[in-house]
């Protein structure tokens, strides 16, 4: 814990946070939860790299910065609606600009039967009681410091429910847009997502910016996938290269449910994602596919942890990383098989390409196994492009940079091969290529 005599500018910036009026203020339980979380965050401060969860991601520089509490002009920033369009994604859409819901950019008419989709700010003003359990949570882990801050200051986000048995055909798009403002600001968004028994949902989470900005965004998502439900979650993180984005997603999977996550991390000066999945019901399955492609001084940290705690559960994780220039890619993939979770089948593969002498990759696949009827394996590599493949392409007349881009794109492409939405798959591929030197 940092215990510097003078408070950090980051903490100093929160001085007036307790008097902030947020959606839902006035409900005693919510006020209490927000106050307690704020006090806990301020008391603990920002963890240093001695904390295992932050070993490879230093928060020292962030601590020296002061962010404005929210954006008063968030409702007015001009955002080009075309920038929000993703090919192959044409369903309902919810848009947040600097953490604030924007009805004018969203598409909430004609929601399919069985889908409830509302901004959190609305729900908090109308009937916050239904979210009491989710919003009065306390976070105690060092890895969750920003979740505390989020719990204290978030007033908007997504509340999404799929009724039991409903199959939502068109993908639902959630956009988190960073827009320039008077000063560097911090926004906090909170998602509560629930898939009823036997339901199906395609979710697309998109982080982007209209222009360069240095904001800090935090996003906490709770996703419950009930028995037999199926979730496909596509995550495209392409936020401003100077911004900071810290996310925590937690998934609970019921019996025979199946969730698949496709993540593409491209933007951010500092982007962190803590992704926790608990396989709580028998035969639940969770698959993740992820890629990061970094350049400049980007620092992207993905902390994946999957907990098998029921019979015959399965998980398969395939992650690829590319770091160029002075970028640093961090990956932790922890698999826990709890006592009694017999029949668990877990595998994790993390391969990384290091393209520059100043870039760095830190990876840590972990296995914690407390049951014996299990199959668990992980593999991780850090290396460079195959020289022979490079030679082959160059001998056929491809310039060095092009050959390198082609092979790097191929390295990443394999991860998204199973993404059913073909148009989106191609878009991802192009987005990767566009990021390569």
């Amino acid at each position: 814990m940092s215990q510097s005599p003078a408070p950090l500018p980051f903490i100093e910036g929160l001085r007036d946070a307790s008097s902030l009026r947020l959606p839902g203020s006035g409900h005693a339980w919510l006020d209490t939860a927000r106050r307690e979380n704020l006090e806990a965050f301020v008391a603990a401060g920002l963890p240093d790299t001695r904390a295992e969860a932050w070993k490879y991601t230093a928060l020292r520089a962030l601590g020296q910065r002061r962010f404005a509490l929210g954006d008063a002009g968030a409702a007015k920033h001009a955002v080009d609606p075309h920038a929000l369009v993703l090919p192959g994604v044409d369903g309902p859409r919810l848009v947040f600009v600097n953490g604030v819901f924007r009805a004018d950019l969203s598409r909430l008419d004609a929601l399919p039967v069985g889908l409830t989709l509302q901004p959190l700010s609305q729900v908090l003003e109308q009937d916050p009681e239904a979210l009491r359990f989710a919003l009065s949570r306390h976070y105690r882990e060092t890895s969750d410091v920003f979740a505390r801050l989020n719990a204290a200051l978030s007033g908007d986000g997504v509340v999404l429910r799929v009724a039991a048995g409903a199959r939502i055909g068109k993908p639902v798009q959630l956009c988190f847009v960073g827009a320039p403002a008077q000063s560097e600001l911090a926004w906090h968004a909170r998602n509560v997502i629930e898939l009823g028994e036997g339901s199906e949902l395609n979710l697309v989470e998109h982080h982007l910016s209209t222009t360069q900005n240095k904001h800090l965004g935090t996003l906490v998502s709770d996703i419950a996938v009930h028995d037999g439900a199926q979730l496909q979650h596509v995550l495209l993180q392409n936020t401003a290269d100077d911004s900071t984005l810290i996310r925590r997603s937690s998934l609970h999977l019921g019996a025979k449910s199946h969730a698949t996550l496709y993540a593409l991390e491209l933007g951010g000066a500092l982007a962190r994602h803590d992704l926790h999945a608990e396989l709580r019901g028998n035969e639940a399955r969770f698959d993740t596919r992820g890629v990061f492609v970094l350049r400049g001084r980007q620092h992207v940290d993905t902390q994946l942890s999957i907990r098998h705690q029921a019979l015959n559960t399965a998980s398969e994780s395939i992650w690829r990383g590319v770091a160029d220039e002075r970028a640093r890619g961090v990956f932790r993939g922890a698999i826990v098989v709890a006592q009694g979770a017999d029949g668990s089948d877990a595998s994790l593969s993390n391969k990384n390409l290091l393209l520059s002498t100043l870039a760095e990759i830190d990876t840590k696949p972990e296995l914690e196994i407390y049951a014996d009827e299990v199959k668990a394996a992980h593999g991780a590599t850090v290396g460079q492009l195959d020289e022979r493949a490079m030679f082959y392409l160059r001998s056929r007349g491809l310039p060095y940079t092009e050959a390198r881009a082609l092979l790097t794109a191929a390295f990443c492409r394999a991860v998204f091969a199973s993404l059913p939405n073909e148009t989106l798959r191609d878009y991802f591929s192009d987005a990767v290529i566009a990021r390569l030197p």
Binding site: E52, Y56, Q339, G340, N352, L354, L355, S356, T357, A359, E360, I361, D362, T363, K364, P365, E366, L367, E368, I369, Y370, A371, D372, E373, V374, K375, A376, A377, H378, G379, A380, T381, V382, G383, Q384
Partner: protein
């Protein structure tokens, strides 16, 4: 009642008896020998007394005090996946030595010799047959080193650390603490302050040590800790293979063992360090046993040098041990082969660190963890490739075998790569002995326990292959004994 088990020769003699009484920790006898020991407690005063008792020069006392003062400022580490009751450092006696200090091996107390005989450590004529030079450390002091004359003829120095401090102060001053500095970590700092003895090996330029060197550590007295310090230096082009074995009596209390081993390999030198660790592991309920906190590090200082660690860890209630290689010289090689077995309530958190600094450095890690009973067994490793380590290469393989439903097997590998020409690979698997394998063996008339030990033996083969032959036989037997009662 106990039986000796540790050398193949003795093993063979006692196979029948061992089979009859096999389910016991066989090195758990106490030898009734008068000991001189310091009163329990730790303070600057104790450190000074210890140093004075050993007749050390001023610089050594100061070195210890510096470490002690640093240790006082350090917090106890909690990062390992170990559940350790707080250790009362004031309740431990930091020095115990047999009262009749021998002048030469011939004067060694016969009871002591008997104790080593029971352990199967060849201190006397048997040593000649075994062809292994032995330094035996009993509680806090070295009680005898064999084959010194033969080794001296080729220029090899093999003696106890206390002697080295007296006889070769310039070598000790030059190398002691140069690989593991006094303030390196909590237990290394403690060791630097209070280490009592250990082995010192110096292989001069171009010499290939003509025989295997070996140290045998034994904790005998109660309420004592053992803090040994080993320093091995291989000059340019030298080669040495070194074996280490450990045992302790069965006691209800937890005893502390905090050792430091430093290896220095200069240009083209090779050091092979093998350990069979069989400290008392505690009983079925986890009462007693040794707390084993060891810092082992090898420094490949010269180009083309090589350090290889092989360990078989079956004992200790708690194992906290990470034999590491600092690959400083260009094209230097580090290897780590490990079998760690935990049973009952044993806890092990062990692994290695490979720090690639020089160009074209290579490292290989093969770790096999076996957990049974209610034990917890973790591999924790770091492979770090620094910016300048052009073309560095690492391959890591970690396999865990689970026997039973209440044990845990964990893998925590860290990879930090800063050079784009490096290739680092890690693979890990966790599984149990499959029913198919067992069924196959049983259908051929092999009993369940034998089948399990066959399968475990196959699982560990990659590591056993790296051990010197005598040790490999011992290690295999040790695994069998440790696993008894694990199945069925």
């Amino acid at each position: 009642m106990t039986i000796e088990n540790d050398s193949p020769a003795v093993l063979r003699d006692n196979v029948e008896v061992a089979a009859a009484l096999g389910r016991r920790y066989e090195a758990g006898f106490v030898t009734d020998i008068e000991t001189d020991s310091l009163p329990p407690g730790l303070s600057e005063d104790i450190v000074r007394k210890l140093s004075a008792l050993k007749g050390e020069p001023e610089w050594m006392t100061e070195w210890r005090l510096k470490a002690y003062r640093h240790w006082l400022t350090m917090p106890t580490p909690h990062w390992a996946k170990l559940n350790i009751a707080p250790i009362d450092f004031q309740a431990i006696s930091y020095y115990a030595s047999p009262k009749n200090r021998p002048k030469s091996l011939d004067e060694v107390d016969p009871k002591l010799l008997e104790a080593y005989d029971k352990l199967g450590v060849p201190l006397h004529e048997r040593a000649k047959l075994a062809g292994v030079a032995v330094d035996a450390v009993f509680d806090s002091v070295s009680v005898g080193t064999t084959f010194r004359k033969e080794l001296a003829e080729v220029g090899v120095i093999f003696c106890s650390m206390s002697e080295a401090i007296r006889e070769y102060p310039e070598l000790v001053q030059k190398y002691l603490g140069s690989v593991v500095p006094t303030g390196d970590n909590y237990f290394a700092a403690l060791n630097s302050a209070v280490f009592s003895d250990g082995s010192f090996v110096f292989i001069p330029k171009g010499v290939r040590c003509p025989m295997e060197l070996s140290t045998y550590f034994r904790i005998n007295a109660g309420h004592t800790g053992q803090f040994e310090r080993t320093l091995i230096i291989a000059e340019d082009g030298a080669y040495v293979s070194y074996l280490e074995g450990c045992t302790a009596p069965m006691r209800d209390e937890n005893q502390l063992h905090a050792a430091v081993v430093e290896l220095v390999a200069l240009e083209k030198a090779q050091i092979k360090y093998s350990t069979v660790q069989n400290w008392y592991p505690g009983d079925e309920e986890g009462r007693g046993g040794i707390y084993n906190f060891v810092t082992k590090r090898g420094d490949c200082r010269g180009d083309d040098s090589k350090i290889s660690w092989t360990q078989v860890e079956t004992g200790s209630a708690i194992t906290w041990k990470y034999p590491s290689c600092v690959l400083r010289g260009d094209r230097s090689v580090g290897e780590f082969y490990s079998v760690a077995l935990t049973h009952h309530r044993q806890q092990a958190d062990t692994g290695t660190k490979m720090i690639h600094i020089g160009k074209g450095t290579k490292s290989k890690i093969v770790s096999k963890g076996i957990s049974a009973g209610r034990s917890s067994n973790s591999y924790r490793g770091l492979v770090k490739v620094e910016k300048g380590a052009e073309g560095a290469r690492n391959y890591t393989q970690c396999d865990s075998l689970l026997i039973g439903k209440k044990c845990g097997a964990h893998t925590f590998p860290y990879m930090e790569v800063k050079n784009p020409t490096a290739i680092v690979e890690h693979e890990a698997t966790t599984s149990k002995i499959s029913d198919d394998q067992l069924f196959y063996c049983r259908s051929r008339g092999i009993g369940e326990e034998d089948a399990v030990s066959m399968i475990v033996d196959g699982f560990c083969k990659q590591v056993f292959r790296e051990l010197p032959m005598e040790f490999a036989v011992e290690a295999k037997k040790l695994l069998e004994i440790s696993l008894e009662g694990a199945v069925g």
